[in-house]
């Protein structure tokens, strides 16, 4: 049996990966916000493997000695896009975004807390429209609910991960933020110290392997083993 604590936004793809992981091992994945899970692991949660959506928390655990040394891998990468449920016209110039908004709202994940929000703020600043759109910004507790606002049409635009945009049929990608406009989006994975679960090591290896990679790519993730 392997207990995995994984960022909630990975639920869809990890389920498929587990499906193709054809061993007798019982993989149990607890999904939640990276912050919650990192805290739980810090306080002794029985997790074998942690896949975070947030580098900060992984580093935090590392500092506390909760990770098996050198087991941390930047498993996946992702892109950042502007989506809309109502507007299909691709954006040509980021500078035109304030005009496109025209009293409509733009939803981000919380910009001071959630990684997706932090990336979004960086990106909007980088493309030089942050100040112009700040009045129209709505923040949601996480990126999934930002997506949901756009998908239901409650908010016209949302900044979400590329993978989310791909999975949600009701939204269209209006614009794609340039690679360098925000810190790299990373999903690091690591073994938790003191567990010594060989099956977990095996599963992590599988995640890093080609079969899993094809699933990840199919969902829009970038596979990052080569980074190291």
């Amino acid at each position: 049996e392997v207990k995995v604590f994984a960022a909630a936004s990975l639920k869809g793809v990890l389920e498929e990966v587990v499906d193709v992981y054809a061993t007798a091992t019982d993989i149990r994945i607890s999904y939640g916000s990276s912050a919650t899970m990192a805290r739980q692991i810090g306080l002794g949660a029985p997790a074998d493997l942690f896949i975070s959506a947030n580098q900060l928390w992984m580093d935090d655990l590392d500092r506390k000695g909760k990770l098996v040394s050198d087991s941390q891998t930047p498993l996946l990468g992702n892109g950042l896009v502007l989506v809309s449920g109502r507007d299909q016209v691709p954006i040509e110039e980021w500078a035109s975004l304030p005009d496109r908004l025209l009293g409509n709202k733009l939803v981000l994940a919380q910009v001071n807390a959630v990684p997706a929000g932090i990336y979004a703020k960086e990106a909007l600043q980088a493309v030089g429209v942050w100040d112009a759109v700040a009045q129209n910004i709505v923040q949601s507790d996480n990126v999934r609910s930002a997506l949901s606002f756009a998908a239901t049409g409650a908010v016209k635009y949302a900044v979400v991960y590329e993978t989310d945009a791909l999975a949600e049929q009701r939204v269209h990608v209006v614009g794609r933020f340039p690679e360098g406009s925000h810190s790299p989006i990373r999903y690091p994975a690591a073994m938790i110290s003191g567990r010594n679960n060989a099956q977990a090591e095996d599963f992590l290896a599988f995640l890093k392997g080609p079969i899993a990679a094809s699933v990840f790519v199919a969902h829009g993730f970038t596979v990052l083993e080569d980074v190291q």
């Binding site: 916000s33 912050a35 990192a38 900060l56 928390w57 580093d59 935090d60 709202k105 939803v107 919380q110 001071n112 807390a113 959630v114 910004i137 709505v138 923040q139 949601s140 507790d141 609910s145 949901s148 606002f149 239901t152 049409g153 409650a154 908010v155």
Partner: protein, 236 residues
């Protein structure tokens, strides 16, 4: 309170405003519903009863989602309200709506419990003295259920102060507009080492709620002293 940042101060005052209006608006409706549930029987009573309890039963996120679909900018009720200038979507009024709805079952339950324990013969006595239904309600029923009102309002207010899931799902989190204390606390907790600022906010929100609680206790005791004495027993 210089140890709270400006955004945090905003969150505190917003939370108070939201909880206050949520409770204030929920109260008369809750009273009516509680009265009807306690005293009348009519077809669809169980439906109404179920509806009232729904926010307690549903995960808050789901309640928020339903609110978004109904009262959101594209929702049926939302567009109607917007048209008459009472739009709530992404406004603090929306946060109050969400908070009020989440507190509603707690309010109604407490009121109903009190109404059911009122000796209806006292109301009849008032009627024979010439008091109309409304007047009986105001001068006899209402004072007699005061302990229930205090409990219900308190529960509703506390819930409104602490409500997070439905609020953020419905009106998101716009600092100064819809960022209530719990949203701020949530945000703070997302960052490693955010426990300290979060705890400051927790202490803040807890003090407010505990203050309300103690006030209500004090009030309730005064009421009880007045009504009570019930003959000989208090001292035993």
């Amino acid at each position: 309170m210089s140890w709270l940042s400006e955004t945090e101060m905003l969150a505190v005052s917003l939370s108070l405003k939201v909880a206050f209006w949520a409770t204030l608006c929920a109260f008369p409706i809750g009273l009516l519903v509680a009265f009807v549930l306690a005293r009348r029987s009519f077809p669809g009573k169980q439906l109404l009863n179920g509806l009232v309890h729904l926010p307690l039963i549903l995960p808050p996120v789901v309640t928020g989602y339903i609110l978004l679909v109904v009262f959101g900018p594209l929702g049926f009720a939302g567009r109607l309200l917007e048209a008459v200038g009472l739009g709530v979507a992404f406004r603090w009024q929306g946060a109050a709506l969400a908070a009020g709805i989440m507190g509603f079952p707690l309010l109604v339950r407490a009121l109903r419990l009190s109404i059911e324990s009122v000796d209806q013969r006292l109301e009849q006595a008032a009627a024979t003295l010439g008091a109309s239904r409304m007047w009986v309600f105001l001068t006899v029923t209402l004072p007699l259920i005061l302990p229930g009102i205090i409990t219900g309002v308190l529960l509703c207010f506390a819930k409104a102060m602490g409500e997070f899931g439905a609020t953020i799902t419905f009106v998101a989190n716009i600092p100064g507009e819809t960022q209530t204390l719990p949203s701020a606390i949530y945000a703070a907790l997302q960052v490693p080492g955010g426990e300290a600022p979060a705890m400051r906010l927790v202490v803040m929100s807890t003090s407010v709620a505990l203050f309300a609680l103690f006030c209500s206790e004090f009030l309730a005791r005064r009421v009880a002293r007045k009504i009570g004495g019930e003959g000989f027993n208090r001292g035993v």
